[in-house]
């Protein structure tokens, strides 16, 4: 595509949807990383956020990069908003969970998932702010 050419609506929607997926995933990575911030975690975030793929995908002087940024923020803060809603409606969590990961201990009839299982933080929970 010529750099002076305007992006079509479909391209803008596509870039925004791509950004939304990336934004959602970035919050996920940031939330589920190990308790200590590893440089590898940061490199992953940086590569996903503004890596060379962005340069290749979005030609200069089009609105595609802008649509990507808008979608990215929607995905990122959308994850955060869903998290707030889920914490609010859950009886096992309150807002303190955002500070240090505290939550109610599971009752005797429940068992916490092991910490190394994907999508589960284990009984100890995340040590970082969520």
């Amino acid at each position: 595509m010529d750099s002076s050419q305007a992006a079509s609506t479909l391209q803008l929607i596509g870039a925004a949807c791509f950004g939304t997926l990336i934004g959602w995933y970035i919050y996920f990575i940031n939330r589920n990383r190990k308790s200590d911030v590893q440089l590898s975690d940061l490199v992953t975030l940086i590569g996903v956020l503004g890596g060379s793929a962005v340069l290749v995908l979005f030609p200069a002087r089009t609105d595609l990069f802008g649509a990507y940024g808008i979608g990215l923020a929607i995905g990122f803060f959308g994850y955060f908003a869903v998290l707030i809603i889920l914490v609010n409606i859950s009886h096992n969590f309150d807002v303190d969970w955002f500070l240090d990961g505290r939550r109610k201990k599971p009752g005797p009839e429940y068992e916490a998932a092991p910490a190394d299982r994907p999508l589960a933080m284990g009984a100890e929970g995340s040590q970082k702010t969520n």
Binding site: L12, G23, I26, N30, V37, L39, L42, L45, I46, L49, G50, V54, L55, F58, P59, A60, R61, D63, F65, G66, A67, Y68, G69, I70, L72, A73, I74, F76, F77, V95, D96, F98, L99, K128, T129
Partner: protein
Amino acid sequence: MIAELGSAALGLVWGWLLGANWTGVKRSLVLVAAALANAALAATLSGVWAALALVAATLVGMWLHVTWLDELRTRRARAEGGE
């Protein structure tokens, strides 16, 4: 307009990430450098105003994150003090 708006949105995400990972000099420097590289990318793809919007929104995003945590800590202190 979309370019500046998108860059500002991207800056908010960077600011939030910076606030959430501000745990050491080395790591903070890596993240700040990456955010600046992203600003340069925005300047290349969308112009100087987009880069400026990204930098300004990054600062706002950091402030939002710090304010959010402060609010949570205040609420916790109030709740624990009231018990």
